[in-house]
Amino acid sequence: MQDNESNWLIEAQNGDSQAFTHLVETYEKPVYNLCYRMLWNVQDAEDAAQETFLRAYQSIRRFDRSRPFSTWLLSIAAHYCIDQIRKRRMHIISVEDLADPDIPEPSPGIEMNLSRKEDRQRIRAVLGALDPIDRAAVVMYYWYDFSYEEICQTLSLTMSALKSRLHRARRAMAEEWLKQQTSTQPKESRSSHSAKMAVERMAS
């Protein structure tokens, strides 16, 4: 797989569009996922992912093969999405105003499906409250298991800036999550058990 990717990269750098198409096939899902988690709109995510691949294709000759291709590609996607969010802010559209798309996810039952949908909406609200760069950092940290170094490289941040951003983002997300929980659940149904578990986890 890695060898294939290297070959496709070399061929794509020599102007072979078919080789680049193989790279698109390989990375369509990670790139789309990042765009979707950043923009929370199916059409915008599709546009952003397509634009990412187009920009990557146009500047593939400048790509340094000593770097991982995935980091480079996701860096293009993240920066494009950050720009889109900033542009969108000019038109004053909040993330909550956008319709929640029904993305089919395999689920065993209706309850599970409902609970997942609730979680999805909460995640969306929580991420939507973040600054675009913080959002990109969180998405890369939780969905892509990127190391701090990789996130720094992708988002052009220093290590201290990234740590501070992630710290701030975690706090903002936890507070927002708590707010969401409080607004959607009756007080008595909130689990005191999970709180105890959390205390035990922190203490251990």
């Binding site: 199916v42 187009l54 929580v126 939780y142 975690r170 507070e175 999550w177 708590l178 203490a203």
Partner: protein, 180 residues
């Protein structure tokens, strides 16, 4: 009570906390419901993030990308053609403008322009005719005096002198290849 330090520790990476800090945080969480609910919320959030799957695009993404690439290349070529054409047109317009500006006094009086051209052509013709009249007896005389062999020899010598001159000029004017 100051919660800030504990809140900072809650969202710090676990490996960055010292053992004492972790113990202090645990003790604080036993007593503080506010911080406990924040920790609980954070862990629930992390669990939800872990469970959230990667979302993929609708099928046919690659073919849509290929179409987009084709459209983009076409747009690029069209833009290239338009740019080149615009440059040529702009260049011609500038040239024409300069020409009109330069020739404006003449264009205002076309008859004067015409007669000036006629006069110039006549002058050139007069000069050429005078040169011919001066050179033709010389040429005719020298053809009888000097033999064909001498002409060839003379021209050869002249060519050699030209070559020598060019070589000497290059040697004198070119920088030294080896710097001493």
């Amino acid at each position: 009570m100051n919660h800030q330090i504990y809140i900072d520790w809650i969202f710090e990476d676990a490996q960055n906390l010292t053992t004492q800090q972790a113990v202090d945080l645990g003790d604080h969480l036993q007593d503080c419901e506010r911080c406990r609910s924040l920790v609980d919320s954070f862990h629930n959030l992390e669990a939800a993030l872990d469970q959230a799957e990667m979302v993929g695009p609708q099928s046919g993404f690659v073919s849509r990308w290929e179409n987009r690439l084709a459209a983009s290349s076409e747009r690029f070529h069209r833009r290239q053609i338009i740019t080149t054409f615009s440059f040529v047109v702009a260049g011609l317009a500038i040239l024409l403008g300069v020409l009109i500006f330069a020739a404006w006094p003449w264009l205002r009086t076309p008859s004067l322009l015409f007669w000036t051209w006629v006069y110039q052509l006549f002058t050139v013709y007069t000069y050429l005719d005078a040169a011919r009249e001066f050179a033709s007896p010389l040429f005719a005389g020298s053809r009888g005096i000097v033999a064909m062999f001498a002409w060839v020899f003379g021209l050869g010598l002249l060519s050699e002198l030209v070559v020598l001159w060019v070589v000497s000029f290059r040697l004198l004017t070119n920088p030294r290849r080896i710097i001493i």
